[in-house]
């Protein structure tokens, strides 16, 4: 049995998991900053 | 009071349930993690002998599926009951059985279907032979909707009770017994090379029966709980 698909599979899954774990906070942070800025803009308009 | 047609109400409810489920997704993962943990406990409890695990695999996996489903059933109607939405739904004039069915379909998609998807992993842990795996998946595809359907009746009956969750399990486990027996028999038979289509056929019959009857029973139970 060729070992290559197992090796490739492992590293692929490793890459996907690490990539996803690394990107999740970045994406969430962009969303959060957008939300907070919008709220800040609204507060300033009121004042 | 609503002039909407019933199919539109059905899809509107489904969409709402998915949105709510997405917001509570951490909560929904718990029964699934429970499924994994409970399955793990069996080899630790009975020993890792591959033959023993393979023998008890159908039963263990199905029991773990039952336990995980019961955990997810308690919250089926509870939050809507607590904030009054359930009452509004009953008063809305839409057929309550349809509303119940929408809830059940959503429940199966977020709680039952994941069990089906996780079953290969459970089969691997319990050493279930390859011949049994496809029948296991089929039995779960047929059986988990039945679990949601019958479980909804129990959930509706206990929604207004304080310790509803514990009582729910007591009510619903006896009702699940035929399903458990048929499903595990089908899987064990397929591993042993014996016929299994009879068991699967009966399970399908059970699915059809509960699909047509359970929503009405659930509706009646909801009306009962809210008076």
């Amino acid at each position: 049995m060729s070992h290559t698909p197992f090796i490739l599979g492992s590293y692929l899954i490793g890459t996907v998991v690490l990539l996803w774990a690394a990107l999740a906070p970045v994406i969430n942070k962009r969303g959060l900053l957008r939300q907070l800025k919008a709220r800040q803009a609204r507060m300033e308009k009121i004042q | 009071m609503s002039r909407q047609t019933s199919p539109t109400a059905f899809t509107a409810l489904l969409r709402r349930d998915f949105l709510l489920a997405y917001r509570r997704r951490a909560e929904l993962l718990q029964p699934l993690v429970f499924l994994l943990v409970v399955t793990t406990l069996f080899p630790l409890g009975v020993g890792p002998s591959p033959q023993l695990l393979a023998n008890i695999a159908p039963g263990v996996i199905w029991i773990a599926a039952l336990l995980a489903t019961v955990l997810s059933l308690d919250s089926l109607f509870r939050s809507d009951y607590e904030d009054g939405t359930l009452e509004q739904m009953i008063l809305s004039g839409q057929p309550l059985a349809l509303i119940a069915l929408a809830r059940i379909v959503a429940h199966w998609l977020v709680a039952g279907l994941p069990i089906v998807l996780l079953s290969p992993l459970l089969a691997l842990w319990m050493n279930l032979p390859e011949e049994g795996m496809s029948i296991l998946i089929k039995s779960l595809i047929i059986g988990t909707p039945v679990l949601s359907l019958i479980g909804a009746i129990g959930g509706a009956l206990t929604v207004s009770l304080k310790r509803g969750g514990q009582l729910l399990s007591l009510l619903v486990f006896p009702l699940y017994v035929p399903l458990l027996i048929l499903a595990t028999s089908a899987v064990s038979s397929s591993v042993a090379g014996l016929p299994y289509t009879g068991q699967l056929g009966l399970m399908v019959a059970g699915l059809i029966a509960s699909l047509t009857l359970a929503p009405f029973a659930t509706a009646a139970a909801l009306k009962l709980s809210l008076t």
């Binding site: 070992h3 490793g14 774990a21 906070p25 907070l36 | 951490a26 890792p48």
Partner: protein
């Protein structure tokens, strides 16, 4: 002594932490990428195949560092948890809960890569031996900490609960490992393990590169998550408001 105290006191301050970790993160990512490139080059292309296991031993360069990280992170969570409970330092609480998903990710990688290593090498995807079982239990412990934290409304209370659970889990982990080891020796079955020989240098270097690389990954990811959590928790505070207005200009 005074400067050291001042340093620790400053790092406890969220805006200070936010600012300086922001400088550090790109360097950590860069170092991670460089070391990973070297490690993978050495491991996948330069190092020889194992004479018993064949090519599949190359999975080791992913699996072993991931497993080391999964345990190291949990240990850190427990130590920081203890500090956070005793001294109530908020930054520690943030670091603990930000570490948990990263630890869980490494545990999953260790489990999956271990499973894929097992199939071609020893014939099976899974076996209930001490190491694999303990690693699986570790994954459940991580899930537990994350779930516990998410079920509280108040962040500081949630963090204290998570800290307590981490400490209990960390104490339990060696006990779990040894009990599973004992349970396993009762049954003659499978015991997968690397051969007792010491490791050849051409295989050791890629392993070490990957191990350090993963630590850098953890550092970068941890700081990134911790900053996000601080923003979320402090969004009403002045330092965040100032940051937002500064960014908009």
């Amino acid at each position: 002594m005074n400067r050291l105290y001042l340093f620790f006191h400053k790092t406890g301050s969220p805006p200070w932490f936010y600012k300086y970790s922001g400088y550090l993160i790109p360097w950590l990512w860069a170092a991670f990428l460089v070391l990973t490139a070297i490690g993978l080059y050495l491991g996948l292309l330069v190092a020889p195949a194992d004479y018993q296991q064949g090519e599949s031993v190359r999975i080791m360069y992913l699996h072993v560092p991931a497993a080391w990280m999964s345990m190291m992170i949990y240990g850190l969570m427990a130590i920081w948890g203890f500090i956070a409970l005793v001294w109530r330092i908020r930054i520690m609480e943030v670091l603990i809960i930000s570490s948990a998903p990263i630890g869980a990710a490494f545990t999953i990688i260790a489990l999956v890569s271990g499973s894929l290593w097992g199939r071609p090498t020893w014939g099976t995807y899974w076996v209930w031996d001490a190491r694999l079982t303990s690693e699986l239990v570790l994954l459940f412990l991580y899930f537990g900490v994350i779930a516990l934290y998410n079920s509280f409304d108040e962040p500081r209370k949630a963090a204290r609960a998570a800290s307590l659970l981490s400490i209990v889990g960390a104490i339990n982990l060696p006990i779990i490992h040894f009990s599973v080891l004992w349970w396993n020796t009762l049954h003659q079955g499978s015991s997968i393990g690397t051969s007792g020989n010491s490791i050849h240098p051409s295989m050791l270097w890629p392993l070490l590169y990957m191990a350090v690389a993963f630590k850098l990954y953890y550092g970068a990811n941890l700081l990134s998550r911790a900053r996000l959590r601080l923003l979320k928790q402090d969004h009403r505070k002045r330092w965040v408001q100032d940051l937002l207005t500064k960014e908009s200009t």
